[in-house]
């Protein structure tokens, strides 16, 4: 689906939804991003990987409009990010945070309905189409069967699905998620990974920040490596996450393997 092979930084931009070039972000005097590039094509699942503090989250926040870049250029379907208002942005991308606060007594349906509110004018009420949109988002996220439960009673995996449901209710063509599985157990992670992959199958484009490299390799069409505030590689997982690169970027002696849809990272945990 995505462009295969390795593509160098600043190479030929693929035609697509998102095009970010030379993004720089400084937060409280610290340079977090030093010129990062990112592309996302129609119906593509891109995983952003990199060590702690490399700037992965800052990169997705910057392209989402949640963090103002100091330099660089971000375009959504050709439109400059800096020219877009909040309502326009809500229609091109949904941002799913790692873990949202959980207000007391709010049900799953109410939370997903809040996600739909980006379609409403101030003070206007939900229309029939909006209610259908909420039901559809809950069905797609797999939360419809516990729609009336309160958020405070949900497990981590269920809550993550609700967060994705809130994003889906925006009905934007792109879903951006910051480490959606980092606090989940194995079963819940498999569930969320399957959900994201099936959403891509329905035509959604997904941008993920992922820590787990074997998970990234399994679900992504393309992997983007961020290191020290720069994108250093982009391409198919097994090509990009080579033994040499794992050593260079993560400082680890590790090998990524793939066999019949199962991926594994073989790590020399205590050195050679």
């Amino acid at each position: 689906m995505g462009p295969g092979g390795e593509q160098s930084r600043g190479g030929r931009p693929p035609k697509g939804l998102l095009e970010a070039r030379g993004v720089e972000v400084e937060i409280a005097g610290t340079q977090i991003l030093r010129g990062a590039d990112l592309d996302l094509g129609d119906g593509e699942l891109v995983a952003i990987v990199g060590p702690n503090g490399a700037g992965k989250s800052t990169l997705v926040r910057a392209v989402s409009g949640l963090q103002r870049p100091n330099a660089g250029n971000v375009r959504w379907s050709g439109r400059e990010l800096s020219d877009m208002r909040g309502r326009d942005l809500a229609r091109v991308r949904a941002f799913v945070p790692q873990r949202m606060p959980v207000p007391a007594g709010v049900t799953v349906r109410e939370a997903v309905t809040i996600g739909r509110s980006s379609h409403l004018k101030p003070l206007s009420r939900l229309t029939g189409a909006d209610r259908e949109g909420v039901e559809r988002a809950m069905e797609r996220a797999g939360v419809a069967r516990f729609a009336e439960r309160s958020l405070t009673t949900l497990s981590g995996g269920e809550l993550q699905r609700v967060q994705i449901g809130i994003g889906l209710a925006q009905e934007a063509p792109v879903l951006i998620a910051d480490e959606p599985t980092s606090q989940l157990d194995l079963g819940a992670t498999v569930g969320v990974a399957g959900l994201l992959r099936s959403l891509v199958g329905e035509g959604l484009a997904v941008l993920l920040v992922v820590h787990d490299l074997s998970l990234a390799a399994a679900i992504a069409d393309r992997v983007v490596v961020v290191s020290e505030g720069r994108t250093v590689a982009s391409g198919e997982a097994t090509a990009v996450l080579s033994h040499e690169r794992l050593a260079e970027v993560w400082g680890a002696d590790a090998r990524l393997t793939e066999h019949e849809g199962r991926t594994a990272l073989h790590v020399a945990w205590v050195g050679p």
Partner: protein, 327 residues
């Protein structure tokens, strides 16, 4: 949902009962049937008409408006700052309004008509200073900065108030009624001056209900949906400042109401959704203030007591009872 409907029904019933009682009871008792006749034109004696229409009706309307305003101010501030301790005190309004009123009472006792204006002006000034300090430098508009700047401003203006009272102890007694909080039977004049501030405050609060529900899911979700979290907080602060300063201008310092009513409503309704909490806090605040005011002027009639202490007597047991069940 059924639970929320039950809470709305209870609040509406309490509000209706308190309103009728407020119009009927006082130094002179007017039968409830006559009260209703007078309100719908005709009925009652001329004296009864005069008491209800020129004394009790304006006072009841003031209590309704101020109670609703303080309930809403507390609800939107607690939502916007994500902090259960937030109330009009926390953004400096109460401290500023108290200072403004005491300044007029003590330094310009001849121009007591300026009291509402003084309370309103200094209440809004204190809130504006809180926002200026909280929205400058790093972490602009963060909850912690707003609350700390608010507490600092509250201390500053309270010190000013205490200083004035200490310098002119002979004039302090006339200030006590304002500090305790209470309504007066002074007709429609005050509300005629102050209503635009209430109107703008109510309107902003109404526009903020949905953005506050977004903010409850976190700044990131709110931003994903196209809102600007800091703008929501600023809007909530401005609306709460207008409502609380206008309330202080009419009824003195009743900060307790803004703190407690939204909590009672949340615990009773079992939800923190602003679609429910904001309107229910308006109803609850209005019912509580009208009931408290009625009690304050009937228990030892014809002596009137400040409504503040009565509301605390009514509100605190209910609050503690709900708190025990909630935790």
């Amino acid at each position: 949902m059924a639970r929320r409907t039950a809470v709305y029904a209870t609040l509406l019933a309490a509000l209706a009962a308190a309103t009728v009682a407020s119009l009927a009871f006082g130094a002179v008792q007017v039968p409830i049937g006559d009260v209703i006749d007078i309100l719908f034109g005709g009925g009652g004696t001329a004296t009864q008409q005069q008491i209800v229409e020129t004394l009790r009706l304006p006072r009841t309307v003031e209590a309704l408006v101020v109670g609703a305003a303080l309930g809403i101010a507390g609800a939107i501030l607690q939502g916007a700052l994500g902090n259960p301790l937030a109330s009009p005190d926390v953004i400096g309004v109460t401290g500023g309004a108290g200072f403004g009123a005491i300044l007029i009472i003590i330094l310009f006792p001849g121009s007591i008509a300026l009291l509402p204006v003084g309370a309103l002006f200094f209440g809004l000034l204190a809130a504006a200073m809180v926002f200026v300090f909280a929205w400058s430098g790093r972490n602009r508009g963060s909850t912690g900065k707003v609350i700390l700047a608010g507490i600092a401003m509250l201390s500053l203006f309270t010190a000013g108030t205490t200083g004035l009272l200490a310098a002119y102890p002979e004039r302090a007694p006339s200030a006590i009624f304002f500090i305790a909080g209470g309504l007066t039977s002074s007709g429609w004049e005050e509300i005629k001056t102050i209503w635009p501030y209430f109107a703008v405050g109510f309107l902003i609060a109404l526009m903020l209900i949905r953005p506050l529900d977004r903010l409850a899911l976190g700044d990131d979700v709110a931003a994903s949906l196209g809102s600007r979290p800091q703008l929501i907080r600023l809007g909530a602060g401005v609306a709460a400042a207008l409502l609380a300063a206008a309330s202080a201008a009419i009824a003195g310092l009743l900060g307790f109401l803004g703190l407690v009513v939204p909590h009672v409503v949340r615990m009773a309704g079992g939800t923190s959704s602003h679609t429910f909490v904001v309107p229910a806090s308006a109803l609850g605040g209005a019912a509580l203030l009208v009931a408290g005011d009625t009690l304050a002027r009937t228990l030892r009639a014809p002596i009137e007591m400040p409504v503040g202490p009565f509301m605390v007597l009514l509100g605190v047991p209910l609050f503690l009872w709900l708190l025990r069940k909630a935790v």
